[in-house]
């Protein structure tokens, strides 16, 4: 035996560490400022979600107070219920998505898969949601405003087409990410994570 492997390793280590030192870029203060911006943006998005929900709910309640007839009550109830479903799903589906993980790599890949599965759930949810809303809307117009059924159908058709176009684009993107993730996870098959054995 010779010391060739070790010498080779030493050479690789020397080459690995030979990169010209780049000037230090981020200071803790700068990162802190970025963190503040990050938190602010997150709060703004959440606040917008809440404000939109309150506005829609308020609109429904206001309409009922202003004209408490059966069609208005049904319409207001539908607005509140559909808004609650949408916001509830949105919050539930993106839970913990913004955390930086300090988990071991094998566990982290599993987390990425879960997050991807959640995003894959979004188009299915939206399809059911929009179908339910269209069914309700058409029934509503058929009962209480038959003259507007044609217009409503055209409007719902346009929404469905837009949704289908978005779905096609989003599906392609998710498929690409799934392939990337499979490639990352499948790099070294045949070895199992320690968490399954002795950890």
């Amino acid at each position: 035996m010779t010391d060739t492997p070790n010498r080779e390793w030493d050479q690789w280590q020397a080459a690995w560490r030979a990169e010209a030192a780049a000037p230090a870029t981020a200071t803790a203060a700068e990162l802190q400022r970025r963190l503040v911006r990050h938190h602010r943006a997150a709060w703004i998005y959440t606040a917008l979600d809440v404000c939109a929900s309150i506005a829609l709910g308020g609109l429904g309640v206001g309409a009922v107070i202003w004209r408490p007839t059966l069609p208005v009550i049904v319409w207001a109830a539908s607005v509140i219920v559909f808004t609650a479903i949408l916001v509830g799903f949105s919050v539930w589906n993106r839970r913990d998505a913004l955390w930086f993980s300090a988990r071991p790599t094998t566990d982290f890949l599993a987390v990425l898969r879960v997050r991807l599965a959640r995003r894959e759930r979004l188009p299915r949810f939206l399809a059911w949601f929009v179908a339910a809303e269209i069914a309700f809307g058409l029934a509503f117009f058929a009962v209480w405003a038959p003259d507007s059924v044609v217009l409503a159908t055209a409007l719902y058709g346009a929404i469905a087409l837009l949704l289908a176009a978005w779905w096609g684009w989003y599906y392609k993107r998710l498929r690409r990410e799934r392939a990337q993730l499979d490639a990352l996870a499948g790099d070294d098959p045949g070895t199992e994570p320690a968490s399954d054995r002795d950890r």
């Binding site: 230090a24 993980s101 994570p193």
Partner: protein, 165 residues
């Protein structure tokens, strides 16, 4: 007085830069990745409960951030990884130096390796012990040894053609 967090970042920034270079060959994107890694470490540090060493914790966060980067980037992984065999388009003056050429060759070879092998090698080259590598990846020490042997063989094979006359 120096902020302790600043000195921590200064300590690990070179390692994170090397790590980013093994994942991303475009210099501009690489710099973004370094900044994202530093930010991820900065955000994650308050959650460190000393269940592992500081170094292990930072490598975990940085590698996870790099994996997220790979998973979400636009072009197909395979094409990029194969293209990564080509050296960076804008050579730095220092690249003329032999050591720097070795560095670039090593980086190019590392980028052509599967991510799992690349992770192992970059950490081993940075001097992490097998136990620490096992903690970062979530595999056993024995597994690290087996994988590292395979990864070194793969790297040797990729670097071998350069040494032929």
């Amino acid at each position: 007085m120096t902020d302790p967090l600043d000195s921590l970042l200064r300590t690990y920034e070179p390692a994170l830069r090397r790590l980013a270079a093994s994942y991303e060959r475009d210099p501009a994107v690489r710099e973004d990745l370094v900044q994202d890694m530093l930010f991820a470490v900065f955000r994650a540090l308050p959650a460190w409960r000393r269940e592992c060493s500081e170094r292990t914790f930072i490598y975990r966060v940085a590698h996870n951030r790099a994996i997220s980067h790979l998973a979400s980037r636009r072009p197909p992984l395979d094409d990029l990884e194969r293209a990564a065999g080509v050296p960076d388009p804008a050579p730095h003056p220092e690249q003329l130096a032999v050591v720097s050429q070795e560095h670039e060759a090593l980086l190019a070879a590392l980028r052509r390796l599967p991510v799992a092998q690349r992770q192992l090698l970059t950490m081993a080259l940075d001097g992490l012990a097998p136990r620490e590598i096992a903690e970062v990846l979530g595999i056993t020490d024995n597994n690290v040894a087996v994988r590292l042997t395979r990864a070194r063989a793969a790297l040797r094979e990729l670097l071998a053609p350069r040494k032929q006359p």
